[in-house]
Symmetry: C2
Subunit: 357 residues, 2 copies
DNA sequence: GTGAAAGCGCTAACAA
DNA sequence: TTGTTAGCGCTTTCAC
């Protein structure tokens, strides 16, 4: 079994307290003693039991992360960045995939709370902010990732999805598209935001919003995006006059749309220009390199990590012994931090109609 | 703050032990008492403090996972599968990326041990099995993932990389290739295994192994595979006679190789057939759909999860109080489990020379 | 500078 | 069926 402080203490004829202080560089320990302790600790390969430490300090040095799909490169990129950036601060990352299932997500939140994580980072699948209540009651700081709630003021890091939608749509307009359609994503804030941005860009340029130009990918728009994109694009292409530009909720649905277009013998971008969102890794190597909006997953992860680390110390430990009040008062410890990472347009062959780079 | 057992006990005029037993469906608790406890627990939104429970039971209900790169779809897929499959058993997953850095990996192992994880799952970047020592000393079961060590008999789940290499190479041979080259990966067991399989398949068919036909991707073969593949392929294509088939360590390097081939005005698969490994998600949508070996990431994750859960109960808690021996004896609790997930060939246009599907 | 006492929230053994 | 005692490994007062 692992060595304990007690083992070191007995070996050296010291008390556990002295060992504890020596190992944590407490000021009031003699230089000689400290060295002896450190030496013996190294010999034994001593590692402090973080579980025990957590129990007494109330800090677990763990950050919880819940994402809808860990295989999605956007969330995988964020997870990687968070993991790397909290590591030097001594934090560990407890990750779970909710599989886009609101019930699983709620269960995972409770699970993370039971584990006493210091902060929860959540890309929520829920329709409402109700699921945040458990965290608020436990006074566990939480950060919303990518997806927001209109009615909750919580910390948020992600894109301004209106900006995403406007950026993509303006690009299509600049490429000469005039009948621009949109493949709309599932019922989360990102889809609503991108749709709003799309409408705003059309309005700016005096382009009439044709109602049929917004096709819904349905609830499977995220994990089965390619199929959903194919089906939705076929519906759009049957219209007359045919759209000449298409802004897709994400890259997989854009790939599906491309397949539909090519199958009909139409050309991209000549007949219809297509842009996605997410900037998937090998977009350059596709049959037709896909223009996309890069969401800056790495930057998002870094900002989340910074915020999480700063919040982790915050957890309010007072109040327990004062009164028997079980329901906490809701004073939020700090003002909410809302951090929009600017999206970036990556134009490739699927939209470039004028041979400009 | 969160409710504790004590709160429930006081409210109901019971002892903490009774509450504890009631909440865990211990047999010797009266039905009426149990119901009262459960009811009050629900009212208070009680969640057991798993940190405290861990301290006393010695089980943390946590599994640690260390991968070289969480953004790599292979590892992301495994992580997702593990996470999903251990969840119903009540386990959480503590994940970290080692960034292909052996020192970071060793540090993360110590970190996970300090957190008392029940099992460590490791896709190791180390050159030797030395890094496994800490886990053995703490008697923490561990599972090697994807990458093995010749000198260590540890639990392993992954592909039989010789089979991977042979499968890919035999496919090229079947497509009529006779001068088959290989882009060799970095210094881990997967690369060595795939190379061996490549050689074996050549030998089976009496094809002479030309030494110049094995080009090294260098140490960056995993995270900067595309560039490395491009550079290595250019070297190969300068040979005379030119190779007519190419088995690449992974898909990114295959994309790089494709770029090199196309830049030279050669055709794929006419002049040279190319196959990768990993079966990246959108291989079908590439300029030339890429043949690849699917490693079965999901299946690997599932097997890891099963094994991890079965191992998690194993951790030997005896021996502590018997004698003062700090160094454990090395009796391994169970025979090592080696689980090869069969790789699967996915043939696409980049190798299909005979118009067969 | 060092250590004794107390306790974090929970569970395991044993007593009542 | 319920409660008492003890202790998991560590940190935090507060004496000495």
């Amino acid at each position: 079994m692992a060595a304990r402080m007690k083992d070191i203490a007995v070996d050296l004829g010291l008390s556990v307290v002295t060992v504890s202080k020596a190992l944590r560089d407490h000021p009031d320990i003699g230089e000689a003693t400290r060295r002896r302790v450190l030496e013996r600790a190294t010999e034994l390969g001593y590692q402090p039991n973080l579980t025990a430490r957590s129990l007494v300090t109330g800090q677990s040095w763990t950050i919880g992360l819940i994402v809808p799909d860990l295989l999605h490169p956007f969330f995988a990129g964020i997870a990687k960045a968070i993991s790397g950036d909290i590591r030097p601060h001594g934090y560990g990352l407890l990750i779970s995939s909710s599989d886009e299932d609101a019930e699983v997500e709620r269960q995972q939140i409770r699970h993370l709370l039971a584990r006493q994580v210091d902060v929860i980072v959540l890309a929520s699948t829920q329709a409402t902010a109700d699921g945040l209540r458990d965290m608020a009651e436990q006074r566990t700081p939480h950060i919303l990732l990518d997806r927001r709630f209109a009615d909750a003021d919580a910390h948020f890091v992600g894109n301004d999805d209106e900006a995403v939608g406007a950026l993509a749509t303006r690009h299509l307009i600049a490429q000469g598209c005039r009948r621009i359609a949109h493949l709309r994503g599932p019922a989360v804030s990102t889809a609503a935001g991108r749709l709003a941005g799309y409408r705003q860009a059309l309005a700016e340029h005096g382009l009439p919003p044709a109602p049929g130009h917004v096709a819904d990918l349905g609830p499977s728009g995220d994990h089965r995006g390619e199929e959903a994109g194919y089906a939705a694009a076929r519906r759009l292409l049957a219209m007359s006059p045919r759209p000449d530009g298409l802004f897709c909720y994400n890259d997989p649905s854009a790939l599906g749309a491309m397949r539909a277009v090519l199958e009909m013998g139409l050309s991209i971008p000549g007949d219809i220009a297509i842009i996605g969102c997410g900037n998937l890794s090998y977009a350059d190597f596709l049959r037709i390199p896909l223009s996309s909006i890069d969401q800056g997953a790495k930057a998002i992860g870094q900002r989340v990590a910074d915020l999480a680390v700063s919040l982790a110390g915050t957890r309010n430990l007072v109040g327990r012994n004062l009164v028997g009040g079980n329901l906490p008062d809701r004073n939020l410890p700090a003002p909410c931090h809302v951090d929009f990472i600017p999206p970036r347009l990556v134009a490739r062959a699927s939209t470039l109609r004028f041979n400009e780079e």
